[in-house]
Symmetry: C2
Subunit: 257 residues, 2 copies
């Protein structure tokens, strides 16, 4: 069992999509939380719906469409300058707190991104966060013209990196992505950022389940597809442990711990 | 401009998916609303995700998978008998209050359903509600092996009914479905069950935006795809007015109102 590469999802896995709240709260103090959550929920919906309709648009355009939907549905108006400031955050999302240390700990193994983001905005985001020095490749699904979880998106990994899915650890905190990658043939590490216990506690202590909890409920728990990822990890920092396991498995039995 | 058929979406358009709250509230008094909303949100997500992954399952199986997801994510356990009672409601959903009168008013024009539901559960639902006497055809997308909004699903209408999309009024209250049907080539009536004004009022008067309002926000407003339906109607009862319009358009100009 060798590990030829780690391939990471970007939005939600390396980068914190919730960090848009900094700007949504600033522009719309009354509705920041609602905009943050509805926007992200619709953004992924739109990638799926446009893929199914055969009417691909870039992730940047979909991010704009879903922001427009969100503001319309909530009933707020925003001039172009406001929408531009909100959109700009997608080029400057905060890396998750475990992102940089985790990538450093994996040095020596090829590291790459496979993301829904179109090449231009992905490259900008990676560069703005300083991650470009740590990654061998930043692969956008826009070369396939269809979003995850379609197989054409996942096939880009082997095409670009020349690594077999079974020797690649695909890393995602998006459960649908982790399941689909497993179904495709990758070895998959799902980053479980919200445990069932923490979520149950959050639900039971709320008088009304609000938008952020609703987001965690809808998108941050393991899907029920019967496509279980190989590893459930609490943090990206736990990935380094998979290399130790792989080394031990490759070593003669007499040397294993 | 002739109207050769009206083709209806089933779940949410003719039948009230919110009527599952009767049984979810009964089985889980503390979490009924949350289960009702998360279940429906995940049910459609699963049709999209499984379609994109090329791993089709029947709508009945997807309805079970999404119910399992919902109960797990909320952190409640339910023995099989409880889950069976909840699932059974999908064979006995309440027709919307405008459903029967609207279909009666359209008598004389062929009426049909095109639905994500598999044939067996659709036939049961239609029969249990007494709608079978009013419909010429009940078309399930299971013959296409892929869910709406994929074109293979919409193509079944012409294949089965022998009517052209441009002479067919496709009726849906699901905005994604209305947009995709328009994009496909149907004339489309979107049933706008929640106006933007009512939703804005609901949001502004809530201390915390809860699950039912979140559902309306996510799934009951017009999508921002730039695929506008031909008609926005407040009720299925407004469909009869489209026949009058079509008659007038077909009549000599001197006879038009």
């Amino acid at each position: 069992m060798t590990i030829d590469a780690f391939v990471f999802d970007a939005y939600g896995t390396l980068f914190d999509v919730q960090s848009v709240s900094q700007i949504t709260n600033q522009e719309f103090p009354e509705h920041g939380e609602l905009i943050t959550q509805v926007w992200r929920l619709k953004q992924l919906e739109y990638t799926w719906l446009r893929s199914m309709m055969g009417s691909y648009r870039s992730f940047w355009e979909i991010t704009e469409e879903s922001l427009n939907y969100t503001l319309n549905a909530i009933g707020v108006t925003a001039e172009k300058a406001v929408r531009d400031r909100i959109m700009d955050k997608y080029l400057h999302l905060d890396p998750h707190v475990d992102c940089l240390t985790a990538l450093d700990a994996l040095e020596g193994v090829p590291l790459a991104i496979l993301s829904n983001g179109n090449q231009e905005i992905l490259d900008a985001l990676v560069s703005n966060s300083g991650l470009d020095a740590k990654l061998q490749s930043v692969i956008s699904i826009d070369k396939a013209g269809i979003f995850k979880p379609h197989k054409d998106a996942y096939e880009l990994v082997e095409a670009v990196l020349k690594v077999k899915p079974e020797n690649t650890i695909f890393v995602s905190s998006n459960a649908f992505d982790a399941c689909a990658a497993k179904n495709f043939g990758f070895r998959v590490a799902w980053i479980e950022r919200v445990t069932p216990e923490a979520l149950a506690e959050e639900i039971s202590s709320a008088a009304v389940v609000g938008p952020t909890t609703m987001f965690k409920l809808l998108r941050m728990q393991m899907e029920s597809f019967g496509m279980e990822p190989d590893y459930r990890l609490k943090s990206l920092n736990d990935l380094a442990g998979l290399i130790d396991r792989a080394d031990k498995a490759a070593a003669p039995a007499s040397l294993r711990a």
